[in-house]
Symmetry: C3
Subunit: 205 residues, 3 copies
């Protein structure tokens, strides 16, 4: 297993944790927790691969199936501890966001999408799982109203990935650079509470 795979599975693991924790909060049973964990972790990549018209990676890799189940088991038994370490989970979630947008953009470019569309698909990869998690849990996706910058760091990371690719800098160094940029922006956005604007004239609460 190489470094990229390890980072990838780490991203899947923390996304799955966030899904399973949402499951506990909504008082779902263990089946619901497992479904929510898996969809959060794998949903973005599945959407990406459906759009690229290839078989989803989640249905060809062993780790992609087992890691969300592992996260479910951990949250099932130790959810108070996981909840208490949510600040740490948010750091990993930011890492997952960075990695998923970079990897998703790269895969889209490999399959011949234009840079613009590759960026769009990279962002979809990064945020798609969280959107599915929230829809299944019966709430408006937090991405849409939360005002925390979440999609914007992914957008910038994807754009940098696509730019490096266009300049001939493919390879894991480019992927890592784009992922680190998105991660850093996301951490700053959380630290300094950068907020997305509401439409002009809509009163701020």
């Amino acid at each position: 297993m190489n470094v990229t795979s390890l980072l990838d599975l780490t991203g899947i693991f923390v996304f799955a944790l966030s899904g399973a924790v949402m499951g506990v909060r909504k008082r779902l049973d263990v089946v619901g927790m497992a479904v929510l964990a898996s969809m959060t972790a794998l949903g973005g990549g599945i959407l990406r691969d459906l759009i690229l018209n290839v078989r989803p990676a989640a249905f060809e890799s062993l780790g992609y199936v087992l890691v969300p189940l592992l996260a479910t088991v951990i949250v099932f038994f130790w959810h108070p501890q996981v909840e208490r370490s949510m600040p740490a989970v948010l750091v990993f979630d930011a890492a997952g966001l960075g990695l998923f947008c970079a990897v998703g953009t790269e895969k889209a470019l490999t399959f011949g999408l234009s840079p613009l569309h590759a960026v769009l698909l990279g962002v979809t990869t990064a945020v798609g799982g969280g959107i599915l998690r929230d829809v299944l849990a019966g709430q408006i996706p937090s991405l849409l109203y939360d005002r925390q910058l979440y999609a914007v760091p992914a957008l910038l990371g994807s754009a940098v990935m696509a730019s490096l690719w266009r300049l001939g800098h493919a390879g894991w160094q480019a992927t890592l650079a784009a992922a680190v940029l998105a991660f850093t922006l996301r951490m700053f956005a959380m630290r300094y509470s950068w907020r997305a604007p509401l439409a002009r004239g809509v009163p701020d609460d």
Copy 2:
């Protein structure tokens, strides 16, 4: 750019307006508005292309990405004006409905679906984006309970498109005829408040 492309982008624009306006009403931030605008405008076509097993047109065309963003910007700055002109937007929405059902049916026929299935996919193209918009905005799709005739005009337009195709009348004239028929029926349905029935015995409000 030919007439069909122009009509197509017009349809995408008004569908995107309706998504962005819904975003303002739900107090979503600008990211949520852009997501809702894009999904409303592109969701039906993406579903159609996934089912046809081809790469979605939205990921190969520049305009399909930029037009929903343009609609988002307009609604972001001038949503009171857009809301005030909603009657006009509804006319354009009816035009988009007509065009999308005709174009979707035609594409499905081109890819070898039977007329019946092509009609089904044409209707999916026309109404799929609105369903995704409502699900993401956290409400039951208005198509399902609204009782306004919305799917039915699309169904008839798609059926006419498929019939003309079977009779050997392909080409933009057939597409336009089917689109105009669906548009006209939708306008009549709005004008005269034609309503879909509830199940027998369910009391009318």
Copy 3:
């Protein structure tokens, strides 16, 4: 028409009934009832085929389109009678669950998925339609919180199907055995109120 097709259409019919009945309960109009009936009956198979990267069977078969519409008509006119016979519908629903998980797993194996992934896709086939039904009807999928064993019987049926396949026992006998096992488990789970656990420490109501 062979026995498998007949069982398949029966499964589609009862799943469609459950969708249409949900439509009446939510006071949807006839269009909403038809959409809900079709998505409940066909959604799982459509998801399966999208992931397998083949054209969904629902868009190539006549019966798959007509049977949900037939169920809609029946519920439209006679929903009090259908509601009264819901215990019988639940038996058929269990039969549909069993059949869909077995057939879905088999199709996934035929397309070269590993046994683990084929099981996952078999369960998706069996429960996907119900999840879509609930999301469209504006509620958290009952699968996620209901605590009734529904996914677990499908999981075991799929696992048996994949095991028999690995042992060289393909063919309708294997499919039927797996389907009967899942059906039986589901019936026992209903009869004896077997329940999925909540996360440790979450108080039971």
